[in-house]
């Protein structure tokens, strides 16, 4: 197993935590530890957690820390190698054949190859972070295909041959855990569960992300969101919703809405389901009174 204790000047979980903070991502120690181990041991990082807790943002922040661009592969049911790996530019190939006439033309050269995220990560492993987003949305066939990729970092293109990464690319997988991932896939990764942050950390995130929001508003929204998450909602507000609600309420307030009416007016950015709104509406006064106190 390749062990590289210092990656891009980062030699410990604490240093990674500080670097992530510099990239405007407030990570706790556990996430920094998992991230550091993933980089040091050259293993993919699997981040699981409820929607909106900052899994994708974590991958972007890791990209920023390593000064690499993030190549994102959004998973969906039925995703196949043409969407994940490569595709030939068929119209161009046809034109090339016609144009060449009796002459030889290599239609399986790079000129006709359309790179997809996984191939891009394999060819330029030092330049990018591969983000395989919402892997739980993909079907099991794709998950099985990923096993091979994540084990050997090789890709076989029938027309040209096998392609192997010169160095292991940094790979981050995220899952909302709408279904259980296969044990074999988990085994190949460093695993971390991202929970909702504690109130102090979440307020810090709001302040880092939303420049227009004052500390008192951030604290109030974080308290309110904490209460909303205790309710049996279909879609509890995530961290992104906390930030957006803070910004939206601040905007409403700047346009003349008094507190806490500004929070009420902006509730649509925090609660995004009709049933949830029906449930929250009669209880919102109590929540807002609580945060005002």
């Amino acid at each position: 197993m390749a062990v590289n204790p210092v990656i891009a000047g980062i030699g410990s979980p604490n240093e990674l935590q500080q670097a992530l903070t510099g990239a405007q991502y407030i990570a706790d120690e556990a996430l920094a530890t998992a991230g550091y181990l993933s980089l040091a041991l050259s293993k993919p990082l699997l981040l699981e957690g409820a929607p909106g807790v900052g899994k994708t943002e974590a991958a972007k922040a890791i990209g920023a820390v390593l000064s690499r661009r993030v190549v994102r592969l959004q998973c969906f049911e039925g995703i196949d190698s043409a969407a994940a790996l490569y595709e030939w530019n068929y119209p161009r190939q046809m034109l090339a054949i016609r144009q060449a006439g009796d002459d030889y033309v290599n239609i399986y050269s790079d000129d006709f190859l359309l790179e997809r995220p996984m191939l891009e990560a394999l060819r330029y492993p030092r330049d990018c972070v591969l983000l395989i987003d919402e892997i739980d949305r993909a079907d099991q066939e794709f998950e099985a295909f990923l096993l091979e990729f994540l084990s050997d970092f090789t890709i076989s293109i029938p027309e040209t041959g096998t392609m192997r990464a010169t160095t292991q690319p940094v790979v981050v997988l995220t899952s909302n855990r709408t279904r259980d991932l296969h044990e074999a896939l988990r085994r190949r990764c460093v695993y971390h569960w991202i929970d909702y942050p504690n109130p102090a950390l979440e307020a810090e995130i709001v302040m880092a992300r939303a420049s227009t929001v004052v500390q008192a508003t951030a604290d109030a929204v974080v308290r309110a969101v904490g209460e909303l998450r205790q309710m049996p909602l279909i879609k509890p507000p995530g961290v992104a919703e906390t930030v957006e609600w803070s910004q939206a309420a601040t905007l409403m307030n700047q346009q003349g809405q008094p507190w806490p009416e500004a929070f009420r007016r902006a509730i649509g950015v925090a609660i995004k389901d009709h049933d949830d709104l029906d449930y929250v509406a009669p209880r919102l006064d109590d929540v807002l009174r609580g945060i005002a106190a």
Partner: protein, 377 residues
């Protein structure tokens, strides 16, 4: 002593033993994960036990839902502290979503109306049941033979080559054209594959369903064995996910596992609250999307009508179809009398006979033929 043991550093041996302890407690840890775990500990210092704990969480891929169990084993191993697992079913005022694979009460959902809990608590008795050893059953065998073909299907976004597809298969068309000097003689086509819809069974195991619950669980075992994606939950005074237990091919062993994890057999009924608990866990609720959902219950709801109607309405919006199978519906003159069931009728695609294993099997086998339409209350 083997060569391997002599070559292993003494400190590493400790961590290997810890991994063995995890395996004994049904954590799945591969040998290469053990090596990564030890490597990670070396990388982290370790500065303290917390580093070792975190290295384990990250490298052994411990799911969030099993952290509590992991921590208990960690403390027991490294600190010699023994802790008991959380007691099941001792909180009467909540309906809990329980996934035995997670080894803990995953989420506790407050009921929207506290009266539901108060009423049901008086009736609630948590008990476990011993299943008898089962012999072969002709109905189940027939079901197993026919179900794979009969289960409902839907179009997937994955495509396959077909002669009469709706989209040109550019890759194959081009490959053929290359062999003919760039001339396209016929267009190859692809069409969308079909895949099975998820099947979700919600089985009422309350006292009033005592006579049916065992055979229903047996059928659920057959469903889990043949369906590509099937989820099974029991409803009583709590919600329990039993699909993992039913994945064991051996039916006797599977039923024994079910008897071990379901702690509210023959107790009270709080269907609405239990279904609401199902909806409150995103990954459980996710199984309902596009699924054929069958609730097997007599509908004798002791909770609040509104809670059940709301929950049923939500399921009907998410699922492909929602059927209610009641043993009482074997009587052709049957009409739902309970307020909750009568008010929920409008959200069902059918209200059918669920009095026998044959009736249940027949219902599932006919799902692909059944049109989705809502009953009118």
């Amino acid at each position: 002593m083997s060569i391997r043991e002599t070559s292993m550093p003494r400190a590493a041996q400790t961590f290997v033993e810890f991994v063995q302890l995890l395996r004994q407690n049904s954590f799945s840890v591969a040998p290469d994960q053990t090596a990564s775990f030890i490597e990670a500990i070396g990388l982290l210092g370790p500065r303290g036990l917390e580093d070792i704990r975190r290295a384990g969480l990250a490298m052994l891929s411990i799911p969030r839902a099993r952290w509590e169990e992991y921590d208990a084993l960690f403390r027991a191993f490294f600190l010699d502290q023994t802790t008991s697992a959380p007691a099941l079913g001792d909180d009467d005022d909540e309906v809990e979503a329980f996934d035995p694979r997670d080894g803990e009460q995953e989420i506790a959902v407050d009921q929207r109306d506290s009266e539901v809990g108060d009423r049901a608590t008086r009736l609630e008795t948590l008990s476990q049941r011993e299943f008898l050893t089962l012999s072969d059953d002709e109905v189940l065998r027939h079901f197993a033979q026919n179900a794979r073909r009969a289960l409902p299907r839907r179009k997937s976004r994955r495509r396959k080559p077909t002669p009469q597809g709706d989209r040109i298969d550019q890759r194959r068309t081009l490959r053929q054209a290359v062999q003919r000097e760039g001339e396209v003689f016929d267009l190859r086509k692809t069409s969308r594959q079909k895949r099975q819809r998820p099947i979700v069974l919600l089985i009422d195991v309350s006292g009033s369903m005592k006579d049916q619950s065992e055979q229903t669980v047996r059928l659920a075992h057959a469903v889990v064995q043949v369906a590509d994606r099937a989820e099974v939950f029991t409803l009583g005074t709590r919600l329990t996910r039993i699909a993992p237990a039913l994945r064991d091919k051996n039916i006797d062993r599977a039923l024994q596992d079910v008897a071990g994890v379901v702690s509210d057999f023959d107790g009270g009924t709080r269907i609405g609250a239990a279904v609401a608990a199902l909806l409150a866990v995103p990954r459980f609720a996710g199984t309902l999307r596009g699924a054929a959902v069958s609730v097997i219950s007599d509908g004798l709801e002791r909770g609040e009508t509104g809670t059940m109607v709301d929950a049923v309405a939500r399921i009907s919006r998410m699922a492909w179809r929602l059927d209610w199978l009641s043993p009482l519906a074997a009587d052709p003159l049957y009409e739902p009398r309970t307020e909750a069931l009568a008010a929920s009728l409008t959200y069902f695609d059918s209200l059918s006979d669920g009095s026998s294993i044959a009736a249940l099997a027949d219902h599932i086998l006919s799902l692909s033929r059944a049109a989705t339409r809502r009953l009118v209350a």
